[in-house]
Subunit: 192 residues, 2 copies
Amino acid sequence: MTTPRGAGRPRDPRIEQAALDAARDLLVEVGYQRLTMAAVAGRAGTTKAALYRRWPSLPHLVYEAAFPDELLKDWHLGRELRADLLGIVVGTRDAFTSPVAAAALPGLLAEFSTHPALHNALFSRFAGVAEAIDDRFRAAAEAGEARPTASAQDVLNLMIGAALIGVLVGPETLDDAWAGRITDILTDGIRP
Amino acid sequence: MTTPRGAGRPRDPRIEQAALDAARDLLVEVGYQRLTMAAVAGRAGTTKAALYRRWPSLPHLVYEAAFPDELLKDWHLGRELRADLLGIVVGTRDAFTSPVAAAALPGLLAEFSTHPALHNALFSRFAGVAEAIDDRFRAAAEAGEARPTASAQDVLNLMIGAALIGVLVGPETLDDAWAGRITDILTDGIRP
DNA sequence: ACGATTACGATACGGTGGGGATCGTATTAG
DNA sequence: CTAATACGATCCCCACCGTATCGTAATCGT
């Protein structure tokens, strides 16, 4: 899928990187709405044809530019429930409030309706997270820190949703105090 | 603003209604992305010019079609905190999961970046709601049912965000059990 | 060394849609 | 009767997407 095959001229790897960089720059400069394939190609020093050879459409390119694989990096679950939740809240906030992600998110969400593949790509990342949190909740339930019915999916949706609304309303509201308040509500909200 | 003035041929009021109805129909049938001004005009039995006379752009028309003023209708705050929160959760869910709203929401959110007026229009509706809930929280705090720092804005953002994510992931997950679980978390989350 | 295959830049094209303009006609206030 | 505005119909301009073409360049298998 990533490597085409053995014959023919190989793709110039610098083009892929230049295109992603150009997309990130333009996202911040002009926003998602005014982002065009030709503009990305122009800034990347190549042409549309080379981009369509790599991504099926502009939203796919933007998705890869705004949400690279390393974004949801390793975070560690520990022994204190509130600290674990705070870490996830802060991580989600940081991922959503980066200039590139904040510029790309609303537009990408709109494309999800017509590009199910993108939809799945973004949400499947949180699937593993949900599983880990579910395990953590089970442990917390045994320790008497959480009710047994606590659902990682519900908590995740609340958390991601609040961060998303925050980005739409104004990213400046998503400071550390915000993360603390949200974490407080969620932590107490799943107590037995 | 709504009434033009005294001179000249008055606008045909049936056109405004027909356009909103046509936009609602087309939103459900083809989705936001494939919705065009010409298609709305065609189905409404008029032309683009008549529509641009009434709305400055397609997103404005869609916004008015998907979120009419009566949508956030009167709900009543009572004496039981959880019941009040459940009412707001259910009301928000119902507003977001209507076929028209679910089809329009993602696209509209994307336009908010470029149309601040739309942005303010939607969120200003919740401003009054936030105020009412803040009063309710203060009363709950005095009754010992809520911590004094409970913020209506935080709770609203969590709630709206969760409903929004639900619409994006799959509206079928937003059943009454979902509303109950979310309400449980929020209710316990603001307890003293 | 050589043909097959694929990528490259440059350029062009068809199709679609937004937003506005024009024109002749219709409807209202004063 | 006149000024002002709305109407349907039509036309244009412009931007963009997605694809195609063409000559050239790079890399494979043999």
